[in-house]
């Protein structure tokens, strides 16, 4: 069982991207996934949305898997492995999550994964916010990503997209940065291809 962590600031498009990717990967690669939704709110919203789309969803809410719910994350991953044993679990981390802490928890307490891939989203609509208010946990999400997805490219022009992509590449020179519109589906095939290749090859 492999783990894909989708992280990114609040409202950056994680759920929208996740749905687009799962649809592509289940039809194209025959992979089966369980979705693990983490929300800091006391009531799960994204889980309801994804279940209505026909996905199999588990929820961890009322806290963040990087801190308060770190133990619950490990327990839930074990349960998913024991009961369902899917090819992959896609964890949508809360928008406030520090990815480094999630990876640290997994390193220490759950060594059974066949591989972990972190996809972190940045949001072109928030370009100004990111400049004016560089938030440490958001920077951490980008720094610890294996793949950085610059979402909402439909909301800005090519120049702004290139400027923000360059800033993201500076934060994480080792990761590929792919610009997408998760809403319109543009470039999602490329992200799905990267993920599909990783699913087939990593062990």
């Amino acid at each position: 069982m492999k783990l894909i962590i989708i992280s990114g600031f609040l409202g950056s498009g994680k759920t929208t991207l996740l749905l687009g990717l799962v649809r592509r990967l289940t039809s194209g690669n025959g992979c089966d996934f369980v979705i693990l939704e983490n929300e800091v709110g006391e009531i799960g919203i994204d889980g309801v949305f994804l279940e209505k789309q026909g996905l199999q969803v588990k929820e961890l809410y009322s806290g963040c898997v990087c801190c308060q719910l770190a133990g619950d994350l490990v327990v839930t991953l074990r349960e998913i492995k024991d009961v369902l044993d899917p090819d992959g679990v896609i964890l949508e981390a809360s928008g406030l999550a520090k990815v480094e802490s999630i990876l640290d928890t997994l390193d220490r307490y759950y060594g059974e994964l066949e591989g972990t891939m972190v996809i972190s989203l940045a949001d072109l609509e928030r370009f100004e916010l990111y400049q004016e208010e560089p938030m440490p946990f958001v920077i951490n999400q980008i720094r610890y990503a294996d793949l950085v997805v610059l979402n909402k490219t439909d909301s800005g022009d090519g120049e702004l997209t290139a400027t923000m992509a360059a800033k993201l590449a500076e934060l994480n020179p080792d990761a590929e940065v792919i610009g997408v519109s998760a809403l319109e589906g543009s470039n999602l095939d490329l992200v799905a291809e990267r993920l599909g290749t990783w699913m087939r090859t990593t062990s």
């Binding site: 609040l10 919203i45 209505k52 963040c64 609509e125 440490p136």
Partner: protein, 120 residues
């Protein structure tokens, strides 16, 4: 600004539309008012305002707002007209506390709906 500077507030309400307009339009007007009210009450960043409105029969309507200036987004529905609605909402923002978030929610809902608390 770090993760602990954000405040999270979740609530459920039962809504009866005050006018005969489409529930979708009423919801959009409420959301626009709520975002505006947050902006004038010291909210500096809207992380995400999101939720679900259900009438018990039609497909649910999902809504989302991610900035103080942009338009709220709706997907799903359409909700039936004239029926009572169940609202589930989560608000994650900075600069206002949960009491303010709750009071402003009910103030803004009251412009369009008769609103009662709604459990579980």
């Amino acid at each position: 600004m770090d993760a602990h500077d954000f405040v999270t507030f979740s609530a459920r309400r039962k809504l009866a539309p005050l006018t005969a307009g489409s529930p979708r339009d009423l919801l959009l007007s409420f959301l626009t008012d709520y975002v505006k009210a947050l902006g004038t009450s010291g909210c500096s960043i809207i992380g995400h305002i999101k939720g679900i409105v259900e009438d018990g029969e039609s497909p649910p309507l999902f809504f989302s707002a991610t900035s103080l200036s942009g338009e709220p987004q709706l997907k799903g529905g359409p909700l039936g007209q004239g029926s009572d609605l169940a609202l589930t909402i989560t608000v994650i923002v900075s600069g206002v506390d949960t009491e303010q978030l709750s009071r402003l929610l009910d103030d803004c809902l009251a412009g369009y709906f008769l609103c009662t608390l709604h459990g579980g």
